[in-house]
Symmetry: C2
Subunit: 394 residues, 2 copies
């Protein structure tokens, strides 16, 4: 595994040396810190070809096949990563990256397996997190596995599955009459007095490191080649940021060449702060008013890393797309009926956005694309039952 060389601010490039204390944000500008490594041992095609050769070793399977580009740590693993890359049955150049196969049923497992592993190694005993739902469930699971106390703050109307997870895993759950931004405020106000480590999106550097494995994985699963575009449901945007970082690293390592994919950040029309900022040519987003969508994971009215998302999307030649809940539901039903895949509402934002960008001509059917389904439809049973007009048979 790789030694951390230093941390680097994603905004002002301040360098922070590693210490015995768990890192948070940039001490100068409060920007998100990136982990920087000495990657010399991982350079070259030979190193790349060693990847996954110990896949049958439990500890190093899943996303830990990329341990050579991750921080040195004893993993707290529940089997996260190396999820299926499913070719569409209808569109020759479309692949669905099925993150619902992860522990706790969503992509959140990657970031939190990495973060909780690191926090345990720093001796952290209590964590807190504001969540739109699925991060809360994943924090609760990995904290339980690591023997860390977890405090989860979620909007009171998150899917029932997320509430079941928090209670079952023994986390301290607070349901808040508001959005994730209100939850974040509460964590911010109480963390010092309570002794909580703040696991908020992009306020520590390790969730990005876990999420970046999606970038390594999709390139490896496509035969160590970039696709033409990547569609990513964007609430907090950690995965998009992580994948772009992965592409940079892989090029430095000599593991991949060619044109990077257009990054397509996908939002719900009912909560589209990044789409609005992108359309207006702004560098940061503005708090989105009256955020409402059944894609609960996209209900993030002002992502902390908006400046990074917008920068990565623009550098990639991509775009930001927002679709309505009605369009999401039509696409969700379409993929269930014709592909046999029950998307999460957030995943259906990817598929709806793909249809849209084929329609506008931004992409051509010959473009090779990866659509992220960030979670299993099974985590939205109550939400989907309502959307599909089903009631319990009782």
């Amino acid at each position: 595994m790789s030694l951390i060389s230093h941390f680097e601010c994603s905004r002002c490039q301040t360098v922070v040396p590693p210490s015995s204390e768990a890192p948070t944000v940039c001490p100068k500008c409060a920007g998100t810190l990136y982990v920087r490594y000495d990657l010399s041992a991982a350079k070259g095609i030979e190193a790349r070809d060693r990847i996954g050769t110990t896949v049958q070793d439990r500890q190093w399977s899943g996303m830990w096949r990329y341990r050579d580009v991750l921080p040195t740590v004893e993993p707290v693993t529940l089997g996260e990563g190396w999820t299926p890359m499913l070719p569409s049955r209808r569109y020759a150049n479309v692949f669905l990256k099925e993150e619902g196969a992860n522990p706790t049923g969503t992509f959140k497992a990657r970031g939190l397996a990495m973060a909780i592993s690191m926090l345990r190694s720093y001796g952290i005993k209590k964590v807190a997190v504001p969540s739109a739902g699925n991060a809360g469930g994943a924090v609760a699971a990995y904290a339980a596995a690591a023997g860390i106390e977890a405090h989860i703050f979620m909007p009171k109307d998150v899917p029932l599955a997320n509430q079941v997870e928090c209670v079952a895993y023994g986390a301290h759950m607070t349901l808040v009459d508001g959005l994730i931004s209100d939850c974040a405020r509460i964590v911010g106000e109480r963390k010092a007095s309570e002794g909580w480590f703040d696991l908020s999106t992009l306020k520590e550097p390790f969730r990005v490191e876990g999420k970046k494995t999606m970038g390594y994985e999709l390139v490896e699963q496509l035969g160590w080649e970039y696709p033409d575009a990547v569609f990513y449901p964007t609430g907090g945007g950690v995965g998009l940021i992580g994948m772009w970082k992965a592409f940079e690293e892989m090029e430095e390592l000599g593991w991949v060449t060619g044109k990077r994919p257009k990054m397509i950040a996908v939002q719900a029309a009912g909560c589209a702060p990044v789409a609005k900022a992108y359309d207006e040519g702004a560098d940061v987003s503005v708090m989105f008013q009256n955020a409402a969508t059944f894609a609960s994971g996209l209900r993030v009215p002002k992502p902390y890393g908006d400046y990074i998302i917008l920068d990565d999307v623009r550098k990639s030649g991509g775009t930001v797309v927002a679709r309505t809940d009605e369009e999401l539901l039509v696409s969700l039903r379409d993929w269930a009926e014709h592909e046999g895949i029950l998307l999460s509402p957030e995943g259906a934002a990817s598929t709806a956005a793909y249809d849209h960008l084929i329609g506008t001509g931004f992409l051509k059917p010959s473009d090779r694309v990866v659509l992220f389904n960030t979670g299993s439809g099974n985590k939205y049973t109550d939400v989907l039952a309502q959307a599909l007009g089903l009631t319990n048979g009782d």
Copy 2:
């Protein structure tokens, strides 16, 4: 892949040659048919070591890594199989086989990926299945992927997730005021006139072939060695039957040696026909009256393959254990809080049974055991919310 040599009745050993028609049950005694192969090409350690070498090829990843011991067919795959084998954090010799990582969130995906792949190759256009819930969801998904019409019959009080799946995938769903046995009767009565292929548990030979991959996988994941015992939540029992068949095949192939594991069939006290038959020394079970348990997958009052389950368990030196819903819930909470894993109620029957057999001395803590979690806890959101005393925050 392997050519089917013939089908063989599991009860009367009648041999049925392969034909262009999809096989059902034994024409003489209606017993379950087993697929028999010419396995000569797969014999020896050299063949075994080829397993999984094309794991990065999408079509042959997951359970299809064992294609050399499966029927020759173009897979209808959603990414099933090769699920995590998680070492317990508390018990040195306990491994949890996490089947919740499968498509549709349960082990049912393996059997139905195989069966639907084969039925498509036979030209079947319509299938019907009686289900306790999760098989229904998996049939709906794979049928949608294959372009086959699916008719699902389930008890009206199955978990809401199973109903959402059927409706979303576009299956024809009938909720029945009764148990899976009542659903099976309806399918039996109507299948001839409707032109449905009957996908009932063990009434065709291919679901066993998909499920047997759990046997190959657990042996491979333990370094090509048998564990001392395997705990298997047993409703219809296809997986237990399939794993025992896998062990026979692997020994014939020279892929594994040593003492086979004790097979521990696990049931819920509220529906324990196999446990009762086992205790009474009977060869078959009797319809269990007033079957009731929150482990809905175990609510099978008389499994079609009871005679095979009982025979396999006895040959293995195993046993059949039934635990109460209260014991299941205690164990479910225990594994969530201390291992970070949200079991299905059926999976919690495995963990509760393990605690029980350590208590009775039937097994020792030094015995190496594999406990099957047959599905993700996320498929039981409504059931678990009620069991944990949670109501929606609305």
